[in-house]
Symmetry: C2
Subunit: 389 residues, 2 copies
């Protein structure tokens, strides 16, 4: 199993800190945004005397309320089409293990969220990457690329929408193309939509659950982690209208007994988060995205698309090797006793050699810190010994 | 993957309830004991503004405090020899996947905790059961049985001590025998010790971590679920002094990002539970065990060993088929509008046909309810059509 592209740099960030250098962490998807007060209050008001197991599929009242949340955004599901899991992580494991045998293949446009690799290894499933490219802003690859990658062992296609690491928001038109290929080859379509709420510039999220005729094919992966800035609750879910898939997934769910009970308390309460919370969070993220995209595009020879979702960008930098560059930023560089920690994009590609001139930047810090981070990055690129042009 | 022996009866318990029959749930390991106040208070005093990911191995302060807990009970481990997991369930998955390849074999005395099967299937590992028997109170099988079961693919032996489902407490002498065979064949020794605190009649728990010369072999599985009656927090851990195993397990831990943060808050606080809590909990469980064992042994043709640990017994009843009997109790029987839900022991055996005249009883209800349950059971056996003698 490959190392996490994010965590392998941790020892180097300790080096920087030991020299008194302030490290701006743009490498992780842990937002600084506050968890909604309704969720924190629910935890503080926890009144049970025994912290019991919940139903293996999750507390029924929570699943019912979740169904109501989906209804409001145009996704029609019932409580028994939802299995609450320990984060999207466990939901993806359940989904893979309930639909695929060892040796089966799943097609994923790259770059993709690095942990998908881990879940695939864990499930004995083989990831077949197909390229999306930075010039096109990481749009959905053409259908010909999917067709080329399909073999008799192909069981599923997976997308993340809006995308981690690229921030790309798939359009309804792109998803309709996916619909056709899924039906043509009778595949499952996994869609990780944990960043659904974070769409910018007037763009609206369209879910694969809204595609017609895919009821037996679509598996939706979701999580409260990013939506409510509550990564630590470890509450996500797997949703499908395919009864056979759900029955199999329930066996995996029962084997691990129950999703976290306290996290479900927070998750259920979070569904009452007022719209005003998201209005201000979205404003904040939008300002951050604008700042980062603008700053990077001002750096000579650097390029950053302007993604419409999530809170990540993948930028191309004039560097020889993003792993080396990110390590150098921590070990050998500082600007006024400050530096930045970025995620080398190599870890988000399954194809060896790809992503060497790209980094992922998470805009999870406030505007002042982001501004300082971008100054550091620009200064670093002036002096980095592995600069390519 | 086999169905859970416990949950497949749930629809039938709904039948009983729909007829206005009170069902005593002796089928599950969810204690009615209150979670320690220190743990509940910690949740209510949660003051973070953002519920963040923890370290993938668990919060460092928690792991350090856990090491202190183990030190006090004679188990010497450091914080970096502990990976906090989402319950013992996830810890077992990490342990299997970090030490075994698909097709490798693990020897487990049966009856054993049914979910081990699920984790083994999930890991591609083959469970080789060896028999422990009710006449001997489910003591450790003789070494000759282990020797017979060992093949070139055998990588590990697993025990649960005190045992679920039998309540059997392995003695130091028995574990010393295991030590020899583990060394002789260079195997891993997994020990699930989540019921460690629940030992009766003056018996003390001895951990495999205290066996000499097994530092590179032993993997300890633990959980706060039963110890602090907090099954819903989903916090357990995997412990090993084998650095290579721990490094591999960390990759699995990183792939799922973090164990539940709120559960860790409860788990860390629970370490301050006063000894008086355990004194009264033990007294309570002991009274319950005595009541159950005595009541069953008074039933003609029934037999129940007197186990020294956990909060389970496996009893032999004069019945044709424990699955049929347990279903009949729910569907077709009541005594004064009351009945009992038991776990058929068949689900705890990997060998087909075994456990047909045995049931597992969890003594997780108060003495009054237990007394009524035992009356129901005795009355049921007077009229059960599948009674064997």
């Amino acid at each position: 199993m490959p190392s996490s592209p994010i965590r392998k740099l941790v020892p180097y960030s300790e080096v920087a800190k030991s020299k008194g250098v302030k490290v701006y962490h743009l490498n992780i998807g842990q937002p600084d945004i506050e968890t909604p007060a309704v969720a924190l209050d629910a935890i503080r008001n926890y009144s049970d005397k025994v912290i019991e197991y919940s139903h293996s599929a999750g507390v029924l009242s929570y699943r019912k309320k979740l169904a109501g949340y989906y209804e409001k955004i145009g996704i029609h599901v019932s409580a028994d089409e939802i299995i609450v899991a320990a984060g999207a992580s466990e939901a993806i494991l359940f989904a893979m293990q309930s639909t695929m045998d060892p040796g089966d293949e799943i097609i994923i446009p790259e770059p993709f969220y690095a942990n998908y690799n881990g879940f695939a290894v864990n499930s004995g499933v083989i990831v077949k990457p197909i390229p999306s490219d930075i010039e096109g802003g990481f749009a959905l690859p053409p259908m010909s690329e999917f067709e080329k990658a399909i073999t008799p062992r192909t069981k599923a296609i997976m997308v993340c929408n809006p995308n981690n690491p690229t921030g790309y928001l798939y359009s309804r038109e792109e998803l309709e193309l996916l619909r056709k290929i899924v039906l043509k080859h009778d595949l499952y379509l996994f869609s990780d939509e944990v960043y659904r709420e974070f769409c910018y510039d007037g763009h609206k999220h369209f879910s694969v659950m809204q595609l017609e005729g895919l009821e037996q094919h679509v598996i939706l992966i979701d999580s409260v982690s990013k939506r409510y800035s509550a990564c630590g609750v470890r509450i996500g879910c797997m949703i499908s209208k395919n009864k056979e898939v759900m029955a199999t997934a329930m066996k995996f769910a029962q084997a691990r007994l129950s999703p976290p009970s306290l996290g479900q308390v927070a998750g259920e309460a979070a569904l009452d988060t007022p719209d005003s919370y998201f209005v201000s969070v979205l404003e904040e993220y939008l300002s951050r995205r604008n700042l980062v995209v603008e700053a990077i595009n001002k750096i000579p020879q650097a390029f950053c698309p302007n993604p419409k979702g999530a809170f990540y960008v993948v930028a191309r930098l004039p560097i020889d090797d993003s792993d080396r560059f990110c390590q150098w930023l921590l070990e050998d560089f500082d600007y006024n006793k400050q530096t930045v920690m970025l995620a080398p994009a190599t870890g988000f590609y399954a194809t060896p050699g790809k992503g060497k001139d790209e980094v992922r930047i998470s805009y999870v810090l406030n505007l002042d810190d982001l501004k300082n981070s971008m100054i550091c990055l620009a200064e670093a690129l002036k002096v980095y010994p592995g600069r390519t042009n």
